[in-house]
Amino acid sequence: MTTYIINLAILIGINAILAVTLNFILGYAGIFSLAHAIFFGIGAYTAAVLAMKFGADFVVATAAGMVLSGVISLALALPALRVRGEYFVAASLGLQMLALTVFSEWKSVTGGIGGLIGIPPARLFGVDVSDPVWFLCLTLACLAITLLVILMLVRSSFGRNLKAIRDDETAASALGKNVSLLKTLAVMVSSAFAAVAGSLYAFYLSFINVESFILEVSVQIIAMVIIGGTATLIGPVIGAVIVLLLPALLTYIPYLPPTEIGSIQQMIYGLAMVLLMIFRPSGLWGYGSDTQKKGAQ
């Protein structure tokens, strides 16, 4: 039982990092990305390959993933953010499809559909973190650092500029803000920290394949942010807890065929998204409809 709870806690921690980083662009900057699972994947594959081939330290492997993820997000954001918001949605959906093909076809690096097996345990300053309890501590530390960085950015002038852009892009650019540059930086930060989650995931499971980075995963991260509440610090974390506890709760419902649980789970997210948008667009943890009215644009 304890193992089960620790396992769930680690997965919640990893997903919370993803939700918090997506919320940074979705909630604060109003940028809608459907490719968040890809940056998660880039982090995971980079860390896995570095650890397997060169026995890289956790910090080194994670940092490399962050850099690569940031650079690739730049390739997406630079052209797509110059133009209207709709373009970024389409381009990110395209990147999700394209990158997934690369993950499953670039067999020499990613192991193809079969994935990478036998990733060594995370090595932090020369010590192997193989005990689940210690790994949970590592995950929570990474989540705390991510939250802290996001909090500092949101409170800084950078964060205020992003919110200004989200609320009124024209006014922000009229005030001399470099809208494209700010948005691009936001996407880079968000993608780089999503890679941290990927690195943790690869080291924890010691096995990764394409299945963990498909569109459904991107959608699940979006669901976490929306259900928890956009543009709040804690909302996405709560969303991650709810979304990850859902399948466990569903197994307690009698007469539910186990093969349909995944489907039912997705229908529940879908329904939650629709109902929240109609009745409470700011999410469960949001500030109520007044701020949101002035908010997302």
Binding site: E86, M267, G270
Partner: protein
């Protein structure tokens, strides 16, 4: 000869894409709603046709009619139950997008639960290829889909320029307040746009069911193609969307010349990206940098 074969296949796929993208573009153009659940109308009508024609043996005209009605009702209900309540308190791109995405998720999983997650095809003699020339195989369905795409496109053009509802729809895209001043109900006009825009996907859905086949996740693929074709053709331009769809269909098939089939979605993305970089306003769109 391989080239010619791929070109013909590309025209056929392009016709299907054009039919899908035109509906999306019509809805977006007149109501300014970014209707990402458009793929669901495609999936619903495709599966209804498959269920009636293939499972129950209903004659094709009745099955087609049922599919058209299903798609139109889906569009109507989306406008009434989802988009209108949201727009009543707030009409941001963000809320509309999430809600539509939620609907897409529900429909996709509902279809998977009800009809199964496998690939379903409608068997018809029309999709049997005939060797027309040495090494060139063409199925009658290729000619039919191209022909239907042209007919639908011209009918839509006629509708938008010659009928009252069509003109009102174009007026709605220009200035909703002026539509109201003329004594028309903008909500009613928007409903028409949703019904017609959704019904237009039906031929594409049926041809897909007859050729490549349907799976529950097809809505997502249709969404990517519609978005890409609309951007490539120029946002809000119906003829642009048709041209964009055709271009994507051709590009996808011509890519088979050198690439493996699993890269087809990647080709769509590369064409889309090239347009975003070099010509963000698309073929026919007015230059719109940032809204």
């Amino acid at each position: 000869m391989v080239f010619l074969q791929l070109f013909v296949n590309g025209l056929q796929l392009g016709a299907i894409y054009a039919l899908t993208a035109v509906g999306f573009s019509l809805i977006f153009g007149s109501t300014k709603i970014f209707h990402v659940a458009h793929g669901s109308a495609f999936a619903i009508s495709g599966y209804i046709y498959w269920w009636l024609a293939s499972k129950l043996g209903v004659p094709w005209p009745i099955a087609t009619l049922a599919a058209v009605i299903a798609a139109a009702v889906f569009g109507l209900l989306m406008e009434r139950w989802i988009y209108r309540p949201i727009q009543r308190h707030e009409a941001s791109f963000f809320t509309v997008f999430i809600a539509a995405f939620g609907v897409q998720l529900i429909i996709q999983n509902l279809i998977g639960t009800v009809a199964g997650r496998g690939m379903e095809t409608v068997n018809t003699p029309l999709s049997r290829s005939v060797e027309v020339m040495d090494g060139l195989f063409i199925a009658p369905i290729a000619a039919i889909s191209i022909l239907v795409a042209i007919v639908v496109f011209y009918a839509l053009n006629y509708f938008l320029t010659r009928t009252h509802v069509g003109i009102a729809m174009r007026a709605l895209s220009e200035n909703p307040d002026l539509v109201r001043v003329f004594g028309l109900d903008p909500g009613r006009v928007a409903q028409w746009a949703f019904m017609i825009g959704s019904a237009v996907v039906v031929p594409g859905a049926i041809f897909t069911a007859m050729t490549a086949g349907l799976n529950p996740a097809i809505g997502t693929h249709v969404m990517l193609v519609s978005l890409a074709a609309t951007i490539v053709g120029g946002i809000g331009s119906v003829r642009g969307a048709a041209a964009g769809g055709m271009l994507l269909g051709l590009a996808e098939n011509l890519a088979y010349w050198k690439l493996d089939p699993q890269w087809s979605e990647a080709v769509t993305f590369i064409v889309l990206f090239a347009f975003i970089i070099f010509r963000p306003s698309g073929f026919f769109g007015s230059p719109t940098i940032a809204k």
